[in-house]
Symmetry: C2
Subunit: 115 residues, 2 copies
DNA sequence: TGCAAATATAAGCATATGCTAATATACTAA
DNA sequence: TTAGTATATTAGCATATGCTTATATTTGCA
């Protein structure tokens, strides 16, 4: 697969979105999995509307996908995004967020949905 | 060389700085070289104070180095920055800015300083 | 049907950001 | 020393951003 150069302006837009502690953590949490909104709220200890607004920005830019399953909406990284390579490289550089999800699981707060 | 994981907050700060069209272009222009302020002004077609303010942010964060030579101050990428790897990977993904500098050179506007 | 849980949206507000205009500083050369 | 060039800094202003509070929407379940 050849290297694709992406318009500078598009890259700047993606970096701007990732350049926020909350959104970068969200992306780290779903680096290789998915989470629903209430899990983000629990892990990040932020209000639900605030999380929803960050998710909307990420979704509007196409960086994440959403999928409703029952009463929950699960978010995951959109690996088809033109700038996914950059996203991936960035997420390689930040501390692993898995332990935060494990803590959730141990507290019995991880959402399991089999629908 | 082992992989170093950098604090998420620090990474977010760097991405925020790169998440601006002007600053990203500046970084692209000095990806493998150096430029002085008047060259940025010419290439980006922006006011000198505006460029200076962007350069200050990049310098305050340690992403660029400055070196005075005569009446000019030359800026270059600080390859020793903790997040330099990320910076480098990002700059790989944007269109090459060299041609803009070549155009400057052909117009006789490139600064040559032998001090 | 009716209520509770999960999520989204909108309005309002405080702070951050990026630009311009004006001015200050540093260096060069006559 | 004086003028000119390059750069930095400051103040002011308009817009963008992120949060809170309040409310709407969707789904599950009794």
């Amino acid at each position: 697969m050849g290297k694709t150069v992406i318009e500078l302006e598009k890259v700047a837009q993606v970096l701007k979105l990732l350049g926020d502690k909350t959104r970068l953590t969200i992306m780290g949490l779903i680096k290789d999995g998915e989470c629903c909104v209430c899990e983000f709220v629990e892990v990040l200890q932020m209000s639900q509307p605030s999380i929803s607004q960050h998710l909307r920005k990420l979704r509007d830019a196409g960086l994440v996908k959403e999928q409703r399953r029952g009463q929950w909406i699960f978010y995951s990284v959109n690996t088809n995004h033109p700038s996914y390579l950059i996203v991936q490289q960035v997420l390689e550089q930040i501390p692993d967020q898995k332990e935060k999800l494990q803590a959730l699981e141990e507290a019995g707060l991880r959402i399991q949905c089999d629908m």
